[in-house]
Subunit: 558 residues, 2 copies
Amino acid sequence: MNLRLALAQLNPTVGAINANLQQLKDAYAEAVQKNCSLIAFGELSVTGYPPEDLLLKPRFIIDQLAALNDFAASTSSCVAVVGVVDFDGQQLFNAAAVCSDGKVQHVYHKRNLPNYSVFDEKRYFSPGTEPLQLIGVNGVAVGISICEDIWVDDGPHIELVSAGAEILVSINGSPYHLDKDAERENLIANRASDLQVPICYVNQVGGQDELVFDGGSFVVDRGGELVARAPLFEESLLITDVSIEPREVRAQRTIDLGSESDTEISDPPLTPVADSISGDSELYEALVLGTRDYCHKNGFSDVVIGLSGGIDSTLVACVAVDALGPDHVHGVAMPSRYSSDHSLTDAEALADNLGIDMRTISIEPAFAAYMDMLDPSFEGRQPGLTWENVQSRCRGQILMALSNEFGWMVLTTGNKSEAAVGYFTIYGDSVGGYAVIKDLLKLKVYDLCRLVNQRSGKEVIPDNVITKPPSAELRPDQRDDQSLPPYEVLDPILSLYVEHDRTTTDIIDEGHDPDMVSRITRLVDIAEYKRRQSPPGVRVTRKAFGKDRRVPITNGYR
Amino acid sequence: MNLRLALAQLNPTVGAINANLQQLKDAYAEAVQKNCSLIAFGELSVTGYPPEDLLLKPRFIIDQLAALNDFAASTSSCVAVVGVVDFDGQQLFNAAAVCSDGKVQHVYHKRNLPNYSVFDEKRYFSPGTEPLQLIGVNGVAVGISICEDIWVDDGPHIELVSAGAEILVSINGSPYHLDKDAERENLIANRASDLQVPICYVNQVGGQDELVFDGGSFVVDRGGELVARAPLFEESLLITDVSIEPREVRAQRTIDLGSESDTEISDPPLTPVADSISGDSELYEALVLGTRDYCHKNGFSDVVIGLSGGIDSTLVACVAVDALGPDHVHGVAMPSRYSSDHSLTDAEALADNLGIDMRTISIEPAFAAYMDMLDPSFEGRQPGLTWENVQSRCRGQILMALSNEFGWMVLTTGNKSEAAVGYFTIYGDSVGGYAVIKDLLKLKVYDLCRLVNQRSGKEVIPDNVITKPPSAELRPDQRDDQSLPPYEVLDPILSLYVEHDRTTTDIIDEGHDPDMVSRITRLVDIAEYKRRQSPPGVRVTRKAFGKDRRVPITNGYR
């Protein structure tokens, strides 16, 4: 016996209830037209995930429930599982509403609420406590759960299957980090083969502030074998026929929907298994989608980027071109008295290769003006770092003025290594609306630049950009390695301290140089106030700077 | 029968375990010297509250438990109740350790974990589930709970009193908002008289990032009458004798500590009831303490403030002087071609009255330089708002250069009304380490300025500052009311939308002008990205911008 399923891997916008509702209706219509018996949408598909403190507005809850009812009223016999916020008069629930034949037939309340990492679900929701129910779809017993539920070993899937579930449907708002897709597929395959039940896993796709959802919805059979998979990082309506092995179902716990007969369908099932991508390619696509959605969902078509000829701004420009198209990317070179010739020529070559608008604005006049203006205050002093910061802020000023005048969003170009140790100027190179590579350590920036050239089969990024030693060029002959250890030494320490919650003592115990470790971790601590005022950017690791890492600014722990 | 208590209202620094440990020991020594039988410290007094993601570092947990054991080893018969993080090998608990005679005698695990507003306790802690125990101190049965526990109607106090508790000790990390002290005293007085038991309520004091803890520890008798109270906003070791009415205690649930005899003490109990303050005075003191602690705990002795002659920077300068002393406050007037004469004279008069350093740096040279530098890009355009933003950012540049060179923290001067509607320039007037009045709506800024003059009995703030119409002075004859409705109209709408989670529709339904409301709430929504890059500041209302209000930037809800 077969059940034809549709997995609606949609890209909602948080809060845009009407637009999200239209997405649901369009996907539903297509599923009906393709003779599906069941369509599953993502977690909180009416509101988009995560709606954060919009959930504290009572009217918002009412509005999205009205949208659910509007959707439900439009349904026919195809059964839809829709993520929505339910309200019992006192508490909110992260819910899956089962809709068909013009109404909401059943509502499941998520039992396991993640409240770690980027998740704050216990801030809003109460866990479900109602008895579990199976949904009979064309006589097939379907068990429903939501995201975290299926990650928990003793989650509702255990009880659903012992009650007779013949297929499990898991609806998700599962954000991306490197290799998360493989991790999910492994987990779900193991659940399926352990429980001997097929599982349909549907995920949201798209960028939402610092999160990017990678999609990659899929179906595994009762042996855990992949039978269908949607692509990563794009919208998709995945339609597939799943073979169902009948079980004994405890009838009193089932709501029967749809027709009881096995639908015989003539057209062949549409079950592509999308190619898997991984590693650097996966990272790159995450950056592209995160950037595109942040710009477009916030009403920006164009971006402006300070092009220094360095590796960071180069990668950001490449991502921006893939996200928005070359006509929507504007580069600005902003040389100073300390800039080397190759900075400008490398930036120009890149802009040429990418086919983007590019202009040059020297920061000398403003820099000289500030030196004069501050002279009475600085009399007799030899400002060093201060003048470096002033230069960086002159560049920030130029970018913001172009942004204000032309409506271009500034893309920030700092990487995670710099953000960690505070090797950037607040209100200078950190200005911008979105920080594309803020979650990439410096060595990973190099990897992705090499990937760009490799993928395009030509030298889009001038070789010199990749091979020259990194420098901020804020004083004569400056190089990053005058202030910082080589990135080969720095990045692993940062990964331990920032991404893996090790302490200074722990890292020294692991054999790293004590003075070096103490110096680096101290730099990370005292840069917290600067990071706090930095723009959001795409999270691609297990722990990014942002809502993932909530460290106090005032912090006496060493 | 009397029990002599000490309430240690201390000002810890989050993470500074050794310094916090020393505070515990010093207070304990004083309590012993004054013949106290019991001393209670604040919630998480070893780590400081809230330690946030430091709790995710296993070594941090170990280190603070070592400090607890160090403290416990130093105790004699006086019983200490110490807030600490407990770890059972798998889970963390927000705990109260009972220490005496050289060791930890008992540990209570907080049962009710707040996870709303500024609180994230479920991110870190598991709730306590162990049976409750009473602590026998000199034969008096003491029941212990932690913060949120006593706010919950069916919290552990019910069970403790029915088990025979003769006094309740509640240890707290309860952050301030306006009138919170009165709210707490009412709640605790009601609990005491309902349960017919005295209650000792001890709170932390001091600033921690955006939170300020107001202290105001107190003891009520079994009738709910106040018998002792520590002052607000300062450290205090409050010592008092509490009269105990014996109850029947179920012995198997009591751990007996201290000597069994009623200690007869000759010196009179030290039980001052500190004066209560409220309203604007209370707000002002919160700003002073929050600012002082943020600066000092982060290693800054001095601050620099852009003095525009306007009401906002004026109030910030007054707070800074009270927080740090006039010798540590530096004012900078930064006139442009659009500045009126009174801007400079008012700023100078204020600086004179406050006795602070003051300098004037015209922004003209930098402004003119940017106009030239951008001319090729702006050819044929008449930039309006862009030139306003450039001026504001020139001022930000000057302040940051002084900060970088002299190590002065920039205090940001924006108020909550401006922050709400985005009436500020990102990287311009919003630059700085700490935003002193970011949680005060504009009308409240006026109230506090009047208070400053009233308290000092003279015109510290020039009258003209209070009476002239507000203006950003970024173009000829500019006034706030050309861009915004009068603050008398604006502030109430903002309060409903931002502080009370009402929607546009709700506010219109309440009778406000529909076009006005739609325009204002739209401004609030689209300014979220700017607020997200603003510095922290003292939270003084029930809902401040910051960790209190977690709204998505990408947000399609209207």
